[in-house]
Protein backbone atom coordinates (compact mmCIF):
# COMPACT_ATOMS: atom_id res chain seq x y z
CA UNK A 1 0.00 0.00 0.00
CA UNK A 2 1.28 3.44 -0.90
CA UNK A 3 1.98 5.96 1.79
CA UNK A 4 -1.01 7.94 3.06
CA UNK A 5 -0.65 11.57 4.09
CA UNK A 6 -2.12 12.30 7.54
CA UNK A 7 -4.76 15.02 7.35
CA UNK A 8 -6.48 14.99 10.75
CA UNK A 9 -7.00 18.63 11.73
CA UNK A 10 -6.11 18.14 15.40
CA UNK A 11 -6.25 21.03 17.84
CA UNK A 12 -7.04 23.65 15.19
CA UNK A 13 -9.98 21.59 13.95
CA UNK A 14 -11.22 21.43 17.53
CA UNK A 15 -10.71 25.12 18.24
CA UNK A 16 -11.22 26.93 14.94
CA UNK A 17 -14.83 27.71 14.06
CA UNK A 18 -14.02 28.55 10.44
CA UNK A 19 -17.09 29.10 8.27
CA UNK A 20 -19.34 26.94 10.41
CA UNK A 21 -22.32 28.19 12.39
CA UNK A 22 -22.79 29.75 15.83
CA UNK A 23 -23.08 26.38 17.57
CA UNK A 24 -19.59 25.48 16.44
CA UNK A 25 -18.21 28.63 18.09
CA UNK A 26 -20.26 27.92 21.23
CA UNK A 27 -18.72 24.41 21.23
CA UNK A 28 -15.17 25.82 21.24
CA UNK A 29 -15.98 28.54 23.75
CA UNK A 30 -17.70 26.07 26.09
CA UNK A 31 -14.58 23.90 26.19
CA UNK A 32 -12.23 26.86 26.56
CA UNK A 33 -14.25 28.39 29.40
CA UNK A 34 -14.43 24.94 31.02
CA UNK A 35 -10.64 24.69 30.96
CA UNK A 36 -10.35 28.27 32.23
CA UNK A 37 -12.67 27.56 35.18
CA UNK A 38 -10.75 24.36 35.95
CA UNK A 39 -7.47 26.32 35.96
CA UNK A 40 -9.10 28.87 38.31
CA UNK A 41 -10.25 26.11 40.70
CA UNK A 42 -6.75 24.63 40.89
CA UNK A 43 -5.31 28.08 41.58
CA UNK A 44 -8.09 28.79 44.10
CA UNK A 45 -7.27 25.64 46.09
CA UNK A 46 -3.60 26.62 46.10
CA UNK A 47 -4.37 30.18 47.24
CA UNK A 48 -6.81 29.22 50.03
CA UNK A 49 -4.31 26.53 51.10
CA UNK A 50 -1.89 29.34 52.02
CA UNK A 51 -4.02 29.97 55.13
CA UNK A 52 -2.43 26.89 56.68
CA UNK A 53 0.87 28.77 56.82
CA UNK A 54 -0.51 31.32 59.31
CA UNK A 55 -2.11 34.82 59.13
CA UNK A 56 1.06 36.54 57.87
CA UNK A 57 1.40 34.09 55.01
CA UNK A 58 -2.29 34.58 54.14
CA UNK A 59 -2.01 38.38 54.20
CA UNK A 60 1.06 38.43 51.95
CA UNK A 61 -0.65 36.07 49.46
CA UNK A 62 -3.77 38.23 49.42
CA UNK A 63 -1.63 41.33 48.83
CA UNK A 64 0.03 39.64 45.84
CA UNK A 65 -3.36 38.71 44.37
CA UNK A 66 -4.83 42.17 44.95
CA UNK A 67 -3.13 43.66 41.88
CA UNK A 68 -5.35 44.99 39.01
CA UNK A 69 -4.06 42.18 36.75
CA UNK A 70 -5.57 39.53 39.01
CA UNK A 71 -8.74 41.61 39.40
CA UNK A 72 -9.22 41.50 35.61
CA UNK A 73 -8.40 37.78 35.68
CA UNK A 74 -11.08 37.22 38.31
CA UNK A 75 -13.59 39.12 36.22
CA UNK A 76 -12.73 36.90 33.25
CA UNK A 77 -13.62 33.95 35.47
CA UNK A 78 -17.01 35.59 36.12
CA UNK A 79 -17.57 35.94 32.37
CA UNK A 80 -16.45 32.37 31.72
CA UNK A 81 -18.72 31.08 34.48
CA UNK A 82 -21.74 33.00 33.12
CA UNK A 83 -21.27 31.59 29.61
CA UNK A 84 -20.39 28.07 30.72
CA UNK A 85 -23.33 27.81 33.14
CA UNK A 86 -26.03 29.12 30.79
CA UNK A 87 -24.66 27.28 27.75
CA UNK A 88 -24.35 24.14 29.87
CA UNK A 89 -28.05 24.28 30.77
CA UNK A 90 -28.84 24.70 27.06
CA UNK A 91 -26.70 21.68 26.19
CA UNK A 92 -28.35 19.52 28.87
CA UNK A 93 -31.76 20.33 27.38
CA UNK A 94 -30.51 19.66 23.84
CA UNK A 95 -28.90 16.37 24.84
CA UNK A 96 -32.25 15.28 26.26
CA UNK A 97 -33.63 15.81 22.77
CA UNK A 98 -35.52 19.03 23.54
CA UNK A 99 -35.57 22.33 21.60
CA UNK A 100 -34.13 20.88 18.37
CA UNK A 101 -37.26 19.64 16.60
CA UNK A 102 -38.23 16.22 15.36
CA UNK A 103 -37.09 14.14 12.40
CA UNK A 104 -39.14 14.21 9.21
CA UNK A 105 -38.77 13.78 5.47
CA UNK A 106 -35.97 16.10 4.25
CA UNK A 107 -37.01 18.48 1.49
CA UNK A 108 -34.85 21.21 -0.01
CA UNK A 109 -34.01 23.78 1.36
CA UNK A 110 -33.25 21.54 4.30
CA UNK A 111 -34.24 22.38 7.84
CA UNK A 112 -31.96 20.89 10.45
CA UNK A 113 -31.64 20.81 14.22
CA UNK A 114 -29.13 23.63 14.75
CA UNK A 115 -31.07 25.90 12.39
CA UNK A 116 -34.33 25.25 14.25
CA UNK A 117 -32.50 25.67 17.53
CA UNK A 118 -31.02 29.08 16.61
CA UNK A 119 -33.72 31.29 18.28
CA UNK A 120 -33.33 29.26 21.51
CA UNK A 121 -29.57 29.62 21.26
CA UNK A 122 -29.88 33.40 20.95
CA UNK A 123 -32.27 33.60 23.95
CA UNK A 124 -29.82 31.61 26.08
CA UNK A 125 -26.94 33.84 24.99
CA UNK A 126 -28.96 36.94 25.95
CA UNK A 127 -29.40 35.36 29.41
CA UNK A 128 -25.64 34.73 29.56
CA UNK A 129 -24.93 38.37 28.58
CA UNK A 130 -27.37 39.60 31.25
CA UNK A 131 -25.62 37.44 33.84
CA UNK A 132 -22.26 38.85 32.72
CA UNK A 133 -23.52 42.44 33.09
CA UNK A 134 -25.02 41.76 36.53
CA UNK A 135 -21.77 39.99 37.50
CA UNK A 136 -19.72 42.95 36.23
CA UNK A 137 -21.79 45.52 38.18
CA UNK A 138 -21.57 43.35 41.29
CA UNK A 139 -17.84 42.76 40.82
CA UNK A 140 -16.73 46.33 40.16
CA UNK A 141 -19.30 48.48 42.00
CA UNK A 142 -21.15 46.55 44.74
CA UNK A 143 -18.25 44.47 46.07
CA UNK A 144 -15.81 47.41 46.01
Amino acid sequence: MQQRLKNRLGLWGWLGGGRYGLDRYAYSLHRLTGLGILAYFIMHIFVTGQRVGGPENWDSTMAAFGSPLFKVGEFLVVLAFAFHAINGIRLILVELGWLIGKPGVPSFPYSYSTLRHKPVFIIFMVFAAALMIIGGVDFYFVMK
Binding site: G13, W14, G18, R24, Y27, H30, L96, P103, T114
Partner: protein, 286 residues
Amino acid sequence: MNKSETRDKAILKTVKFEVLRYNPAGNESPHLENYSVPVTKGMTVLDGLNWIKEHLDSTLSWRSSCRMGICGSCGMFINGLPRLACNNQIVHLHSDRVVIKPLPNYDIIRDLVPDLEGLFEKHRSVKPHLIRKDTAEQDSPTGEFFQSEQELLNYIQFAYCIKCGLCMAACPTVATSEEYIGPQPLTAGWRYLSDTRDEGAEQRQDVLYSSHGVYRCHFAGACSQVCPKGVDPALAIQMAKRDAFMKGFGRGKKRSGSSVIPPIQDWTPRGDIPDAPAKTVPQKSE
Protein backbone atom coordinates in the same frame (compact mmCIF):
# COMPACT_ATOMS: atom_id res chain seq x y z
CA MET B 1 -20.82 30.25 -35.23
CA ASN B 2 -18.74 27.16 -34.39
CA LYS B 3 -18.77 25.28 -31.09
CA SER B 4 -15.77 27.03 -29.50
CA GLU B 5 -17.11 30.50 -30.42
CA THR B 6 -20.44 29.64 -28.76
CA ARG B 7 -18.58 28.53 -25.67
CA ASP B 8 -16.42 31.69 -25.60
CA LYS B 9 -19.57 33.81 -25.66
CA ALA B 10 -21.06 31.81 -22.77
CA ILE B 11 -18.07 32.38 -20.48
CA LEU B 12 -19.17 34.48 -17.50
CA LYS B 13 -15.79 35.01 -15.88
CA THR B 14 -12.43 33.38 -15.24
CA VAL B 15 -11.89 31.91 -11.81
CA LYS B 16 -8.63 30.92 -10.15
CA PHE B 17 -8.71 27.33 -8.89
CA GLU B 18 -6.16 26.61 -6.16
CA VAL B 19 -5.99 22.85 -5.80
CA LEU B 20 -3.97 20.88 -3.28
CA ARG B 21 -1.59 18.48 -4.99
CA TYR B 22 0.03 15.50 -3.32
CA ASN B 23 1.71 12.61 -5.03
CA PRO B 24 2.87 9.83 -2.67
CA ALA B 25 5.33 8.60 -5.29
CA GLY B 26 6.88 12.03 -5.93
CA ASN B 27 9.37 14.07 -3.96
CA GLU B 28 7.26 17.21 -3.74
CA SER B 29 5.57 18.07 -0.48
CA PRO B 30 1.82 18.86 -0.56
CA HIS B 31 1.26 22.26 -2.17
CA LEU B 32 -1.45 24.38 -3.79
CA GLU B 33 -1.34 24.59 -7.58
CA ASN B 34 -3.12 27.38 -9.50
CA TYR B 35 -5.30 26.97 -12.58
CA SER B 36 -7.39 29.55 -14.47
CA VAL B 37 -10.79 28.15 -15.33
CA PRO B 38 -13.34 29.85 -17.62
CA VAL B 39 -16.74 29.60 -15.94
CA THR B 40 -19.98 29.17 -17.84
CA LYS B 41 -23.54 29.27 -16.53
CA GLY B 42 -24.43 26.28 -14.37
CA MET B 43 -20.83 25.06 -14.18
CA THR B 44 -20.13 23.13 -10.98
CA VAL B 45 -16.83 22.82 -9.14
CA LEU B 46 -16.65 19.25 -10.48
CA ASP B 47 -17.08 20.59 -14.04
CA GLY B 48 -14.20 22.98 -13.29
CA LEU B 49 -11.97 20.10 -12.22
CA ASN B 50 -12.95 18.15 -15.33
CA TRP B 51 -12.04 21.19 -17.43
CA ILE B 52 -8.61 21.36 -15.77
CA LYS B 53 -8.04 17.66 -16.38
CA GLU B 54 -9.08 17.99 -20.01
CA HIS B 55 -7.21 21.18 -20.87
CA LEU B 56 -4.46 21.91 -18.35
CA ASP B 57 -3.29 18.99 -16.25
CA SER B 58 -4.24 15.38 -16.87
CA THR B 59 -2.48 14.20 -13.71
CA LEU B 60 -4.95 15.86 -11.31
CA SER B 61 -6.77 13.19 -9.30
CA TRP B 62 -10.08 13.14 -7.46
CA ARG B 63 -12.96 10.75 -6.95
CA SER B 64 -16.35 11.29 -8.58
CA SER B 65 -19.06 9.30 -10.24
CA CYS B 66 -22.71 10.32 -10.60
CA ARG B 67 -22.18 14.13 -10.83
CA MET B 68 -25.68 14.68 -9.39
CA GLY B 69 -25.36 14.49 -5.59
CA ILE B 70 -26.39 10.86 -5.29
CA CYS B 71 -23.24 8.76 -5.01
CA GLY B 72 -21.36 10.87 -2.45
CA SER B 73 -17.95 10.35 -4.08
CA CYS B 74 -16.84 13.92 -4.76
CA GLY B 75 -16.67 15.28 -1.21
CA MET B 76 -13.97 17.98 -0.99
CA PHE B 77 -13.02 20.92 1.22
CA ILE B 78 -14.12 23.80 -1.00
CA ASN B 79 -13.59 27.41 0.11
CA GLY B 80 -13.49 26.51 3.78
CA LEU B 81 -16.37 24.03 3.98
CA PRO B 82 -16.73 20.32 3.19
CA ARG B 83 -19.03 20.10 0.14
CA LEU B 84 -19.84 17.87 -2.81
CA ALA B 85 -18.04 19.25 -5.87
CA CYS B 86 -20.96 18.24 -8.12
CA ASN B 87 -23.53 19.92 -5.90
CA ASN B 88 -22.03 23.42 -5.89
CA GLN B 89 -22.00 25.80 -8.79
CA ILE B 90 -18.90 27.98 -9.07
CA VAL B 91 -20.88 31.24 -9.36
CA HIS B 92 -22.76 30.36 -6.16
CA LEU B 93 -19.46 30.42 -4.26
CA HIS B 94 -19.40 34.21 -4.89
CA SER B 95 -15.63 34.30 -5.23
CA ASP B 96 -13.07 34.57 -8.01
CA ARG B 97 -10.89 32.18 -6.08
CA VAL B 98 -11.84 28.55 -5.46
CA VAL B 99 -9.57 26.79 -2.97
CA ILE B 100 -10.01 23.02 -3.09
CA LYS B 101 -8.40 20.63 -0.62
CA PRO B 102 -9.13 17.01 0.18
CA LEU B 103 -11.63 16.34 2.98
CA PRO B 104 -9.94 16.92 6.35
CA ASN B 105 -9.81 14.22 9.05
CA TYR B 106 -9.12 11.53 6.43
CA ASP B 107 -5.70 10.43 5.22
CA ILE B 108 -4.90 11.61 1.70
CA ILE B 109 -4.25 8.94 -0.93
CA ARG B 110 -3.39 11.40 -3.69
CA ASP B 111 -4.37 15.01 -4.58
CA LEU B 112 -8.08 15.30 -3.68
CA VAL B 113 -8.65 11.61 -2.97
CA PRO B 114 -9.33 10.87 0.72
CA ASP B 115 -9.00 7.41 2.25
CA LEU B 116 -12.55 6.65 3.44
CA GLU B 117 -11.77 3.14 4.72
CA GLY B 118 -11.80 4.31 8.37
CA LEU B 119 -15.30 5.75 7.90
CA PHE B 120 -16.60 2.50 6.39
CA GLU B 121 -15.00 0.44 9.16
CA LYS B 122 -16.79 2.52 11.79
CA HIS B 123 -19.98 2.36 9.74
CA ARG B 124 -19.81 -1.45 9.74
CA SER B 125 -19.17 -1.47 13.51
CA VAL B 126 -22.70 -0.15 14.25
CA LYS B 127 -24.23 -3.06 12.29
CA PRO B 128 -26.16 -0.93 9.81
CA HIS B 129 -28.75 -3.55 8.86
CA LEU B 130 -31.95 -5.01 10.32
CA ILE B 131 -31.24 -7.62 12.98
CA ARG B 132 -34.03 -10.11 13.73
CA LYS B 133 -33.95 -12.96 16.20
CA ASP B 134 -35.88 -15.14 13.77
CA THR B 135 -33.26 -15.29 11.01
CA ALA B 136 -35.21 -17.95 9.13
CA GLU B 137 -38.06 -15.46 8.57
CA GLN B 138 -35.56 -12.84 7.45
CA ASP B 139 -33.90 -15.17 4.95
CA SER B 140 -37.16 -16.61 3.57
CA PRO B 141 -39.86 -14.04 4.35
CA THR B 142 -43.49 -15.14 4.59
CA GLY B 143 -44.71 -11.54 4.76
CA GLU B 144 -43.77 -7.96 5.61
CA PHE B 145 -42.54 -6.71 8.98
CA PHE B 146 -45.23 -4.30 10.19
CA GLN B 147 -44.39 -0.59 10.38
CA SER B 148 -46.76 2.36 10.68
CA GLU B 149 -46.24 5.62 8.79
CA GLN B 150 -45.35 7.48 11.99
CA GLU B 151 -42.79 4.81 12.91
CA LEU B 152 -41.23 5.28 9.48
CA LEU B 153 -41.07 9.07 9.95
CA ASN B 154 -39.04 8.57 13.13
CA TYR B 155 -36.02 7.39 11.16
CA ILE B 156 -36.52 7.93 7.41
CA GLN B 157 -34.54 11.20 7.47
CA PHE B 158 -31.48 9.35 8.75
CA ALA B 159 -31.83 6.72 6.02
CA TYR B 160 -31.11 9.37 3.35
CA CYS B 161 -27.37 9.26 4.13
CA ILE B 162 -25.18 8.77 1.04
CA LYS B 163 -21.99 8.12 3.06
CA CYS B 164 -20.09 11.00 1.46
CA GLY B 165 -18.29 11.58 4.77
CA LEU B 166 -18.64 15.39 4.78
CA CYS B 167 -19.97 15.31 8.36
CA MET B 168 -16.84 13.51 9.59
CA ALA B 169 -14.69 16.19 7.93
CA ALA B 170 -16.69 18.96 9.62
CA CYS B 171 -16.85 17.43 13.12
CA PRO B 172 -14.46 19.10 15.63
CA THR B 173 -14.45 16.02 17.87
CA VAL B 174 -13.37 13.77 14.99
CA ALA B 175 -10.57 16.31 14.37
CA THR B 176 -8.89 15.39 17.65
CA SER B 177 -10.11 11.87 18.39
CA GLU B 178 -9.39 8.93 16.15
CA GLU B 179 -11.47 6.63 18.38
CA TYR B 180 -14.66 8.71 18.30
CA ILE B 181 -17.14 6.87 16.11
CA GLY B 182 -18.32 10.09 14.48
CA PRO B 183 -21.55 11.55 13.12
CA GLN B 184 -22.10 9.31 10.09
CA PRO B 185 -21.80 5.89 11.79
CA LEU B 186 -23.68 7.10 14.89
CA THR B 187 -26.53 8.34 12.70
CA ALA B 188 -26.58 5.04 10.80
CA GLY B 189 -26.65 3.19 14.12
CA TRP B 190 -29.55 5.31 15.43
CA ARG B 191 -31.40 4.84 12.14
CA TYR B 192 -31.57 1.08 12.87
CA LEU B 193 -31.88 1.41 16.63
CA SER B 194 -35.02 3.51 16.16
CA ASP B 195 -36.48 1.20 13.52
CA THR B 196 -39.45 -0.67 15.02
CA ARG B 197 -38.68 -3.75 12.91
CA ASP B 198 -35.22 -4.14 14.44
CA GLU B 199 -34.31 -6.48 17.30
CA GLY B 200 -30.57 -5.80 17.51
CA ALA B 201 -30.61 -3.03 20.14
CA GLU B 202 -28.32 -4.83 22.60
CA GLN B 203 -25.64 -5.54 20.02
CA ARG B 204 -25.74 -2.03 18.56
CA GLN B 205 -25.87 -0.19 21.89
CA ASP B 206 -22.51 -1.63 22.91
CA VAL B 207 -20.92 0.49 20.18
CA LEU B 208 -23.24 3.50 20.10
CA TYR B 209 -23.32 4.07 23.85
CA SER B 210 -19.66 3.20 24.47
CA SER B 211 -17.13 5.75 25.80
CA HIS B 212 -16.35 6.75 22.19
CA GLY B 213 -20.01 6.87 21.20
CA VAL B 214 -22.80 9.42 21.33
CA TYR B 215 -21.67 11.20 24.49
CA ARG B 216 -18.46 12.36 22.82
CA CYS B 217 -20.65 14.64 20.67
CA HIS B 218 -21.05 18.13 22.13
CA PHE B 219 -23.49 19.54 19.60
CA ALA B 220 -21.22 21.69 17.45
CA GLY B 221 -23.80 21.21 14.69
CA ALA B 222 -21.26 21.39 11.84
CA CYS B 223 -22.25 17.89 10.63
CA SER B 224 -25.85 18.92 10.03
CA GLN B 225 -24.79 22.20 8.44
CA VAL B 226 -22.68 20.53 5.74
CA CYS B 227 -24.84 17.45 5.05
CA PRO B 228 -25.83 17.61 1.36
CA LYS B 229 -28.93 15.45 1.87
CA GLY B 230 -30.49 17.09 4.94
CA VAL B 231 -29.88 14.01 7.08
CA ASP B 232 -29.20 16.02 10.26
CA PRO B 233 -26.71 13.77 12.12
CA ALA B 234 -26.70 16.14 15.13
CA LEU B 235 -30.41 15.45 15.68
CA ALA B 236 -29.93 11.66 15.43
CA ILE B 237 -27.10 11.77 17.96
CA GLN B 238 -29.10 13.87 20.47
CA MET B 239 -32.02 11.44 20.12
CA ALA B 240 -29.64 8.56 20.77
CA LYS B 241 -28.29 10.38 23.84
CA ARG B 242 -31.79 10.74 25.25
CA ASP B 243 -32.39 7.04 24.63
CA ALA B 244 -29.11 6.16 26.39
CA PHE B 245 -30.02 8.45 29.30
CA MET B 246 -33.52 6.98 29.69
CA LYS B 247 -32.23 3.43 29.46
CA GLY B 248 -29.67 4.29 32.14
CA PHE B 249 -32.63 4.99 34.43
CA GLY B 250 -34.44 1.88 33.26
CA ARG B 251 -37.03 3.98 31.46
CA GLY B 252 -36.06 3.55 27.82
CA LYS B 253 -38.41 2.10 25.27
CA LYS B 254 -38.04 -1.64 25.31
CA ARG B 255 -39.59 -3.31 22.35
CA SER B 256 -39.42 -6.49 20.41
CA GLY B 257 -39.33 -6.31 16.63
CA SER B 258 -42.62 -5.68 14.88
CA SER B 259 -44.71 -8.66 13.86
CA VAL B 260 -44.86 -10.24 10.43
CA ILE B 261 -47.98 -9.47 8.44
CA PRO B 262 -48.87 -12.27 6.05
CA PRO B 263 -49.68 -11.20 2.50
CA ILE B 264 -53.35 -10.31 2.00
CA GLN B 265 -55.04 -13.27 0.32
CA ASP B 266 -58.68 -12.30 0.16
CA TRP B 267 -59.04 -9.06 -1.77
CA THR B 268 -60.95 -7.64 -4.66
CA PRO B 269 -59.44 -4.99 -6.95
CA ARG B 270 -61.07 -1.57 -7.27
CA GLY B 271 -63.21 -1.44 -10.36
CA ASP B 272 -61.76 1.83 -11.69
CA ILE B 273 -58.20 0.52 -11.92
CA PRO B 274 -57.43 -0.98 -15.34
CA ASP B 275 -55.74 -4.35 -15.63
CA ALA B 276 -52.00 -4.42 -16.13
CA PRO B 277 -51.01 -4.82 -19.78
CA ALA B 278 -49.98 -8.29 -20.94
CA LYS B 279 -46.31 -9.11 -20.38
CA THR B 280 -44.18 -8.57 -23.45
CA VAL B 281 -41.20 -10.58 -22.23
CA PRO B 282 -41.65 -14.27 -21.41
CA GLN B 283 -41.30 -14.97 -17.67
CA LYS B 284 -38.80 -17.53 -16.42
CA SER B 285 -41.44 -19.82 -14.95
CA GLU B 286 -43.50 -19.81 -18.13
